[in-house]
C-alpha cells in the first residue's frame, strides 16, 4: 500500500494537513469556531465544541491536559493555535509552552488579553494564517501507517482486517473498551492512529472524529440499514474492499463523515465538575 501524506516533523507523517484551532476551555469554543470558519476559506482548519478545561479537579486536570496535548501532537496536524479565555484551570499559555518544546508550529491567544471576542478572532485568524504560511504542506510518503479499529460492535470481519493489515506491515490498534464509539475514538486518537475504521454499535449511528478520517462500516441492524447512506461500506463488505478504501482515504479521498464536515469529540472525564 502506497500512501502519500504530509510530513509534520515531530508529529510524524499524517494523512491530512490540518490546522487545529484548540479551545483550551468551553468558554473559548465559540471564538475558536469563528477563527476556524474564517481560516478554512483558504486552508484546512478544524476545531470542535467541548465542555471542559475549567471547573475540573483531581485526575481530570492532568487527564484533560494530556488529552488536549495528544490532539495537538497528532500526526494529521500541521500546526496548532490554542485559544484560551485566561482564567481557566487548564491555562492555554502553559499548554502552549509545553507543546512548543516539541513543535514550533504552535501559537496561543488569550481572550481576556486580546481585546475581547473580535480582537481574539482577528488576532487568531492572523496567527493561524501565519502558521499556514510558515509551515506549508510538505508531501511525504507515509511508511508507518497506523490504523485504529473501533470495535464497539464485535465483528468477525475486524479480526480478519487486523490480520491482513498486519501482513501488509500496517500497524493496528483495536479499541473495544466502550460500546460508545466516541470514547473509543478518543483512545485511538491518543494512540496516534492516522485513520479509524469504525464498527459502531447496532444502536448507534455512523460518527467520526474531527482530526482523524473515520470509515464507518454498517451492521445489519435496523438502525444501520435505515441509515445506509451515512455509512462508507455496507455490512456485507469484504476485507479487501475495506483495505482499498483505507488506501484511497489515506491518499486524500474523503470519508462520509468528512464530507459532511461532521465529527465530535468525547473527552475522557472521571470526576464531576466543581
Amino acid at each position: 500500500m502506497k500512501i502519500t501524506g504530509f510530513d509534520h516533523t515531530n508529529r510524524g507523517v499524517g494523512i491530512r494537513n490540518l490546522q487545529l484551532i484548540l479551545p483550551s476551555v468551553v468558554c473559548s469554543t465559540r471564538v475558536s469556531s469563528r477563527i476556524a470558519a474564517e481560516v478554512s476559506k483558504q486552508y484546512s482548519a478544524v476545531t470542535f465544541a467541548h465542555q471542559h478545561g475549567c471547573g475540573i479537579i483531581g485526575n481530570d486536570v492532568g487527564g484533560i491536559t494530556e488529552y488536549f496535548a495528544s490532539l495537538a501532537k497528532h500526526p494529521n496536524i500541521g500546526s496548532v493555535l490554542i485559544v484560551g479565555l485566561g482564567c481557566e484551570t487548564i491555562q492555554g499559555n502553559e499548554l502552549a509552552e509545553k507543546l512548543l518544546k516539541e513543535n514550533s508550529s504552535t501559537k496561543y491567544l488569550v481572550i481576556q488579553e486580546s481585546g475581547g471576542v473580535q480582537g481574539t478572532v482577528d488576532g487568531g485568524v492572523r496567527a493561524a494564517k501565519e502558521l499556514n504560511v510558515t509551515y506549508p504542506p510538505k508531501h511525504a510518503e507515509l511508511r508507518d501507517l497506523h490504523i485504529g479499529i473501533d470495535l464497539s460492535n464485535p465483528n468477525l470481519i475486524a479480526a480478519e482486517l487486523v490480520t491482513q493489515l498486519g501482513s501488509l506491515g500496517i500497524k493496528t490498534t483495536v479499541s473495544s473498551s466502550h460500546k460508545n464509539s466516541g470514547l473509543n475514538f478518543s483512545e485511538l486518537m491518543e494512540a496516534g492512529v492516522h485513520l479509524i475504521v469504525s464498527f459502531p454499535d447496532e444502536n448507534q449511528p455512523a460518527s467520526g472524529f474531527p482530526l482523524i478520517p473515520t470509515l464507518n462500516i454498517s451492521s445489519n441492524s435496523p438502525l444501520h440499514l435505515a441509515l445506509a447512506a451515512d455509512f462508507d461500506l455496507p455490512s456485507d463488505t469484504t476485507v479487501a474492499q475495506i483495505i482499498d478504501l483505507i488506501e484511497a482515504v489515506g491518499n486524500g479521498a474523503k470519508t462520509k463523515v468528512e464530507a459532511m464536515g461532521a465529527g465530535e469529540i468525547i473527552a475522557p472525564r472521571v470526576v464531576r465538575s466543581v
Binding site: 469554543t29 471564538v31 438502525l223 465530535e264
Partner: protein, 387 residues
C-alpha cells in the same frame, strides 16, 4: 423608560422573553448537523453535546437537563433531532409535559442520511423563525420573570461591586413577585450558614447546609479537597485568597431576601421567591441547569470577563471592575466597577442592573446574544456522588 415588562405567554402558564427556534440534537452524533442547520438558517439556534444515550449513573440527570432545556419558555419552537430510540421519545414527551410551545420531531432513521436531514430541517427552521418574528409581545406580570444569578471568573472586587449590586436588583425583583435563583454550590461553601439563616423555614435552611455537605462529600469521595482547586487560578490572580472569601462575595448576588426553597439541579421553581439551586460552579454547566429549570433571563457577573452565553436565555454580563470592562468591551453589558471607582453607589448600579434586566426582557439584545454565544454543557456526576 416604561416599567412595564412584556413577553410571550406560553400555554403552560410560563412566559418567554425571546422566541428562539432551537435545534436540539438528542444524540451526540446529531450535534454537527444541528450546528450546520443553525448556521445556515436565518436565526435558529443549536447546541452541541457529547451524550449518546448511555444508561449510566448520570442518565436521570442528563434526561432531566435535556428535556428541561428543550422546554425552556424562551423557545418559540423546539426542533428535536432524533434517532427515534425509546429514550429519546421519552425525553420529547417529558419536555412536552413541562411545556414546549411548538414541537417538531425530525427522525433521522426515516430520512436515511444526515444530508437529507439537513435538507429537510433547514426550511422548517427558517419557516419557524419567520413565524416566531410575527408574534407580538404583551404586558407580562413580574412573576413571569425567572432570573438566574451567576458569577464566573470572580476577583477581589466581585463581592464589593457587581455581586452586591446584583443583589439590590434581585431583592427588588423578588419583592415585585419574580423568581430569582442563586446557583453554584461550590461558591457558597463557607457561607452556607449565612444563607441558611435567611431561609424561610428551618427545613429550607437545613437543605441549604445539606446541599453543601453533599457536594463536599461527592468531591472528598475522590480523595480530593475542593479547596485545592477553588478559588481557581484566575480567581487568585484576581486577588481572591480563599474559597470562603470567594463564597462570601458570591452569595451577595442573592441580596438580602429570604430563601423560599432549595432546588435540585435543573428543577423548576414552584412559585415566586428567592431560591438556591444545587449546581456546579462550572459556568456553562450552571447556565445549562438554569435553562433546564425554566429560567428565562440571567445576570452574570465577572471579574476576569467571559463571553459565554446560552442558546435560550439572554445573559447580561456585569463587570466587577472598570479596567476589565474597558479591555473586553464586546462581551460586557454593564460596568459595576464604578462603585470601586467612587463614581456611583451600590444602589445606583443596582438600579441600572434592574433597568437592564427589564430592557433585555423586553427585547434588547445582550452582547452574548449578538455574538451568538450558545455554549452548552451537560453536568455529570460520574457516579461519584454519595447522597
Amino acid at each position: 423608560m416604561s416599567n412595564q415588562l412584556t413577553g410571550f405567554p406560553r400555554a403552560d402558564g410560563r412566559w418567554g422573553f425571546r422566541n428562539q427556534v432551537l435545534v436540539l440534537p438528542l444524540h451526540s452524533a446529531l450535534s454537527s448537523v444541528a450546528r450546520k442547520i443553525a448556521d445556515a438558517s436565518s436565526g435558529a439556534v443549536a447546541v452541541s453535546h457529547d451524550w449518546s444515550g448511555e444508561r449510566d449513573g448520570d442518565y436521570d440527570r442528563i434526561f432531566k437537563t435535556i428535556s428541561g432545556f428543550a422546554a425552556n419558555p424562551n423557545s418559540f419552537a423546539t426542533i428535536f433531532l432524533t434517532l427515534n430510540t425509546p429514550h429519546e421519545l421519552e425525553i420529547i414527551k417529558a419536555a412536552q409535559k413541562i411545556g414546549v410551545n411548538h414541537t417538531e420531531i425530525i427522525n433521522l432513521t426515516e430520512l436515511g442520511s444526515m444530508d437529507k436531514l439537513f435538507e429537510v430541517t433547514l426550511p422548517i427552521a427558517n419557516d419557524l423563525v419567520v413565524q416566531a418574528k410575527k408574534v407580538a409581545r404583551v404586558p407580562a406580570p413580574w412573576s413571569a420573570l425567572h432570573l438566574g444569578l451567576e458569577c464566573g471568573g470572580s476577583d477581589a472586587l466581585s463581592g464589593i461591586t457587581a455581586n452586591p449590586a446584583l443583589g439590590v436588583a434581585s431583592d427588588r425583583l423578588v419583592e415585585l413577585g419574580a423568581v430569582s435563583v442563586l446557583g453554584e454550590t461550590t461558591e457558597i461553601l463557607g457561607a452556607e450558614h449565612l444563607l441558611a439563616a435567611r431561609a424561610i423555614t428551618p427545613e429550607v435552611g437545613r437543605q441549604i447546609v445539606e446541599a453543601v455537605a453533599r457536594y463536599e462529600r461527592s468531591i472528598n469521595y475522590e480523595g480530593i479537597d475542593m479547596r485545592g482547586a477553588q478559588p481557581s487560578r484566575g480567581n487568585i490572580e484576581g486577588g481572591l485568597t480563599t474559597l470562603e472569601e470567594k463564597s462570601l462575595g458570591a452569595a451577595k448576588k442573592a441580596g438580602n431576601a429570604q430563601f423560599t426553597g432549595v432546588l435540585d439541579y435543573a428543577d423548576p421553581a414552584p412559585k415566586p421567591g428567592l431560591y438556591f439551586m444545587d449546581t456546579p460552579g462550572h459556568d456553562t454547566e450552571q447556565l445549562t441547569g438554569f435553562a433546564a429549570s425554566g429560567i428565562n433571563i440571567v445576570v452574570f457577573t465577572s471579574g476576569r470577563g467571559t463571553p459565554t452565553g446560552s442558546a435560550v436565555m439572554p445573559t447580561i454580563k456585569v463587570a466587577t471592575n472598570t479596567p476589565m470592562a474597558e479591555s473586553v468591551p464586546d462581551f460586557i453589558d454593564l460596568n459595576a466597577g464604578t462603585i470601586a471607582d467612587g463614581t456611583e453607589t451600590l444602589e445606583e448600579v443596582g438600579a441600572r442592573i434592574f433597568d437592564e434586566i427589564l430592557a433585555v426582557a423586553n427585547g434588547q439584545l445582550t452582547k452574548a446574544e449578538k455574538g451568538l454565544h450558545h455554549e452548552f454543557s451537560l453536568s455529570r456526576m460520574y457516579n461519584t456522588v454519595i447522597s
